[in-house]
Amino acid sequence: MIQIRGLSKEFLGRDGADTGVLAIDSLNFEVRDNEFLTVIGPSGCGKTTLLRIIAGLIPFDEGEVQIDDVPVTGPGADRAVVFQNFALLPWADVLTNVAFGLEIRGASKSECEATAMRLVKLVGLEGFERRLPKELSGGMQQRVGLARALAVNPQILLMDEPFGALDEQTRRLLQEQLLRIWDQERKTVMFITHSMEEAVLLGDRVMLMTPRPGRVKEIIDVPLKRPRGQETEKSTTFVEIKEYLWENLRSMQVLDQRGEA
C-alpha cells in the first residue's frame, strides 16, 4: 500500500531564490494493494512530479511517503517505472533492454535471460528479441518498457503517461493488453494519464487533481466490472464518469493551451 500524507514539493527558481513554484500542495491519499489507480489532471497539476517522488527519483519537502509503512528514501526493488518516452537503450536489443533492471540489480546472466524471455513472450514480442528499439514501432517500444518494468517483479508499477506518445489505435491495443497482464500478475498500479477515457477504462479509482499548486480534488470510484473492454465504454456508468471528469477538467482551464506532454 502506498500512503501519502501531507506531501508538498516546491521547485526552486532558477537562481535558487524564493521565487519557487509550489508543484504539489499537502496531498493525502492511499493506493491500496493490487489497486489500479489512475491519476488525471490538467498540465501543471504535478502528477508527474508526484509519480517521480513515489519512485524515489526526486526528493520532496514536506509530508510522508510510505510504502507498507516504510518511508521512501530512494528507488527500491518494490517499485518499477514505465516512462512516457519509453527510455529504452538505443544500442541494446529487446532482450537486453527487458533484462536491464534485473542486471542492474545483480541477477545472474541465466536468470536475466530466462526472465526476459518470459516477459518478451508475455507482452507479445516473440521473434523480436534481437531487434533494436529503432526497428520497432512506438507501441512495440512501450511493450518493451512494460516488460522491463515487470521483469524485476515489482509490487508497485508506476506508469507515467505510458501511452501518451502513441496513436489512438495502438493506445487501445496496449490498454487491453495492460489490463490482461494486470489480471494475471496482480500489481498495485499508479497510472498517470490525461485521457479521460483511459482513466475510467483502466482505473479502479480515478484521482482528479487541480493545477498550480497540485492538489487532490476528488477520488472517484469506478464501479465497472472486470474484465473491461470495448463493451465497457458503451455503458452508462463509463460515460457518466467520463462526463463528470470533463466538467471538472473544463472548469480548471484545460483550455489554456499549455501542453505538458
Partner: protein
C-alpha cells in the same frame, strides 16, 4: 498514397533499386574527382613548368625512390612511434577528464576555462617550456603531440556525456543503478558516437602535431626530412613526404572509424 503502418514492421521504401545504387555511384564520383585532380595536376605541372609545382608523376617517382633507398622506412617508424605514444596518452587522459567534466558540474566549472584556453592556444608556444621540463629528449615531441590532440578529445567527450538523454539516466536510477553502473551501462555507450567524433579530430590534430614537432623541434622523422628537402627546394620530394603523411593520417582515421563502426552500429 495512403499506407497503413503495421505494428510489426516499418514501411518498405518503394524505390529500393535506386537507393541501393546510390552509394556505389557516390564512390565512383569520388574516384573520378580524385583522378581528375591528379590529371589536372599533371597537366599544370608540365605546362607551367614551375619549380614549386612538379608534375604528379615526378612526385610518385620521388616516393618510389624514397621507398627503394630505404630512407623513408626508418623515418616513418620514428614518426609513428611519437604519434602512437602521444595519441594514446591523449586518448586515455582525454576520455577520463572529459567524462568527469561531462558528468560533474563542479569539475566542468573548474576545468572548462583551462581546457578552452589550451584548445585554442597554439601548442608550439609551449615548446620552450617542454624543453625546460623534459630536456632535449623525445618526450618534447610527444608532449607537443599531446598538446595538439588532447583538448579536442576532452571537449568532445565532455559534450557527449553531457548530451546523453537524461531520461535514460533517470530510467537507470529508477532501477537503483549506482554511479558506476550509470557510467558504464548508460553514459558510456550512449555517448560513444560523439566521443568518436572527438577521437577522430584528435587523430587528425595528432598527425599535425607530429609533423610540426619534427620540423620545428626535434628534427627527426618525416618532418625533419621535409624540412631538409624544403630548404634544398626539392619540391617533388617535399610533396612525396606530404603524401606519406597524408597516408598516415588517412590510415589513422580509418582505424578509428573501423573501431567506431564496430561499437556504434546501432546509431546509423
Amino acid at each position: 498514397m495512403a499506407r497503413v503502418a503495421v505494428e510489426a514492421g516499418k514501411i518498405e521504401p518503394v524505390s529500393m533499386p535506386l537507393s541501393l545504387r546510390q552509394p556505389f555511384r557516390d564512390a565512383w564520383f569520388e574516384l573520378a574527382a580524385l583522378l581528375g585532380g591528379v590529371i589536372l595536376w599533371e597537366v599544370l605541372g608540365w605546362s607551367l613548368a614551375m619549380p614549386w609545382l612538379p608534375p604528379f608523376s615526378k612526385i610518385l617517382e620521388a616516393l618510389v625512390q624514397f621507398v627503394q633507398s630505404g630512407v623513408i622506412l626508418g623515418n616513418v617508424a620514428t614518426s609513428l612511434e611519437g604519434l602512437v605514444i602521444g595519441f594514446t596518452i591523449s586518448l586515455f587522459v582525454g576520455l577520463f577528464v572529459g567524462a568527469l567534466m561531462g558528468r560533474y558540474r563542479r569539475v566542468e566549472k573548474a576545468l572548462d576555462v583551462y581546457v578552452n584556453a589550451l584548445l585554442i592556444s597554439p601548442a608550439m608556444i609551449f615548446a620552450p617550456i617542454f624543453f625546460a621540463i623534459f630536456g632535449l629528449s623525445g618526450a618534447v615531441r610527444i608532449a607537443v603531440i599531446v598538446m595538439y590532440s588532447l583538448f579536442v578529445i576532452i571537449m568532445n567527450t565532455a559534450t557527449a556525456i553531457r548530451n546523453v538523454d537524461p531520461a535514460l539516466v533517470e530510467m537507470a536510477s529508477s532501477f537503483g543503478a549506482n554511479e558506476r553502473q550509470i557510467f558504464l551501462r548508460v553514459l558510456l555507450p550512449a555517448s560513444l558516437p560523439l566521443v568518436f567524433a572527438g577521437i577522430r579530430l584528435g587523430m587528425g590534430r595528432a598527425v599535425k602535431g607530429m609533423i610540426n614537432a619534427e620540423m620545428l623541434i626535434a628534427m627527426v622523422g618525416l618532418g625533419a626530412l621535409a624540412q631538409r628537402y624544403g630548404s634544398q627546394f626539392e619540391a617533388a620530394k617535399v610533396f612525396a613526404i606530404a603524401l606519406v603523411v597524408l597516408i598516415i593520417a588517412l590510415v589513422g582515421n580509418w582505424l578509428v572509424q573501423a573501431v567506431e563502426n564496430r561499437l556504434t552500429r546501432w546509431a546509423d
